[in-house]
């Protein structure tokens, strides 16, 4: 599903250099991972050094940070939130729950792989990842943006059928979203 690397124009390279310095984060903290974020943001590890700050609404945010497991109900909210965000947008899966279900592998009601439902840019492995790991992963994301490889948000527009099919299977039928992804893709020429 990965996009083939294409030659970038000079403007796109400059834009990536500047845009990577400002990433606003919306946390979706239903899991236990939220406890690692305050030390990451405050005096000890100070995430704002890299221009990463927290934002409170999906419209303004660039990063959607999913901390911990998602159930069917919370996945629905995540999909709605993700579709409200403005592109380019990056999903960061936080903790092993988002990678393979983690300690909830045998649970009947949790999602095992987040990237089946929305495109994920980076994963942070661990249960729980320490603030050092969080900062390392955000730096990896910053490097990825700089190289022009952080294009997972385009997947959602291009392979919407794949994601929609997986979502519908979990939700047992289409959910009511407020965004027409295919019309948006045509409008913004993605």
């Amino acid at each position: 599903m990965g996009e083939k690397m294409t030659q970038r124009s000079v403007w796109e390279k400059i834009a990536a250099k500047l845009s990577k310095r400002s990433l606003w984060m919306l946390h979706y903290c239903t899991g236990c991972g939220a406890i690692e974020l305050p030390p990451t943001m405050t005096a000890r590890f100070d995430m704002e050094r890299f221009g990463i700050g927290h934002m409170v609404t999906p419209r303004q945010a660039d990063i959607l940070l999913i901390t911990g497991y998602l159930s069917v109900k919370t996945l629905k909210r995540v999909v709605l939130t993700y579709e409200q965000m403005q592109s380019p947008k990056y999903v960061v899966g936080f903790g092993s729950c988002t990678i393979n279900g983690g300690m909830y592998w045998n649970s009947y009601s949790t999602m095992k792989k987040l990237d089946q439902y929305i495109p994920v840019e980076t994963y942070i492995a661990g249960c729980m990842p320490r603030p050092e790991a969080i900062i390392a992963s955000f730096n990896a994301l910053i490097d990825k943006i700089d190289r022009g490889e952080a294009n997972s948000w385009k997947d959602y527009y291009k392979n919407y059928d794949f994601y929609k099919e997986n979502q519908d299977r979990v939700f047992e039928g289409p959910i009511e979203t407020y965004n027409d992804i295919k019309a948006d893709a045509a409008l913004f020429k993605i």
Partner: protein
């Protein structure tokens, strides 16, 4: 020709100064909290990133126009206040004009946010207009007081009088009560910390900006940077003797901004009703006493 150049470049200069002041405020906040903080040009990165967004959701025609009305109203105010080297419009429009056009951005914001139909946005606008009623009464009284003291309603003349007379004729020396009242009102006007009820991120999700994303939020950031310079320049022209060269002007902006940041770091946030009550209990009587002292 000179005037045309100023018209083109003044908003850009004000934007650059305002953006650096905002970046400085983030660094200042970080240092008080014992963090390292973002680089001082961080707000430029933020605005660039917002303007570079690939998708921008519009909620309708009024939403598009209102953002421009917000920016336009602020730039219009900027033209009417005298800055070093440019006071062309300030000769034609006095403080009464400035008092009127200062309200345009608030109204523009109210119209645009109304169309986004987000309840948090509506609460934010209701709070913004409530705060307008709270801080505008003392602020207008300080305008009136300074006009009566110097026998002129022109901000340019006021600046010239204060520059000619030296520090002894500065508003902050001749009438400290008005200066204090106006400083408190200025905090409310800029939405700084004790009166940060409009954009209350933990309470109403940034209020008016809740549905703004991408370029819309970028324009609001630019407007905020310019508005901050505009409103502080009004204060400087009224009470701190104005400025005749750019070094003096930027130094005064910097000092005033640092004082306001320091106040913001000490205080928490008022509730809306408490903020209005405070504005009408402390700065308003101060301003009234100040005006009465000038009359008698």
């Amino acid at each position: 020709m000179n005037v045309v150049l100023w018209i083109i470049f003044l908003p850009i200069i004000a934007f650059v100064i305002g953006t650096f002041l905002l970046g400085y405020s983030r660094k200042f906040t970080a240092r008080v909290e014992r963090r390292y903080g973002p680089p001082i040009q961080q707000v430029f990165y933020d605005i660039f990133k917002l303007m570079n967004k690939k998708t921008n959701i519009s909620h309708g025609w009024m939403h598009d126009v209102a953002v421009l009305m917000l920016l336009g109203g602020t730039v219009l105010t900027l033209y009417f206040i005298p800055v070093p080297g440019f006071s062309y419009f300030a000769q034609y429009g006095d403080m009464l004009v400035i008092m009127y056009i200062l309200l345009i951005p608030s109204l523009g914001m109210a119209l645009g946010v109304g169309e986004t139909a987000n309840p948090n946005g509506s609460i934010g606008i209701a709070r913004a207009l409530t705060m307008l009623a709270a801080y505008d009464v003392p602020f207008v009284l300080t305008f009136i007081g300074m006009a009566m003291l110097n026998n002129t309603t022109s901000m340019y003349d006021l600046m010239v009088i204060q520059q000619a007379g030296g520090v002894a004729t500065w508003g902050i020396v001749t009438n400290p009560l008005l200066a204090v009242a106006a400083l408190i009102a200025l905090h409310g006007m800029l939405g700084k910390k004790p009166f940060e009820v409009v954009v209350a991120p933990h309470e109403i999700a940034t209020g008016p900006m809740v549905e703004m994303g991408g370029k819309y939020l970028g324009i609001m950031f630019i407007q905020h940077a310019i508005a901050e310079v505009v409103e502080m320049t009004i204060y400087i022209n009224l009470f701190l003797g104005g400025a005749l060269n750019w070094f003096e002007y930027i130094l005064k902006l910097f000092v005033l901004w640092t004082v306001m940041l320091g106040v913001g770091m000490v205080f928490g946030r008022f509730r809306t009703d408490d903020a209005v009550r405070f504005m009408w209990k402390i700065p308003l009587p101060l301003a009234i006493i100040g005006v009465l002292l000038i009359i008698f």
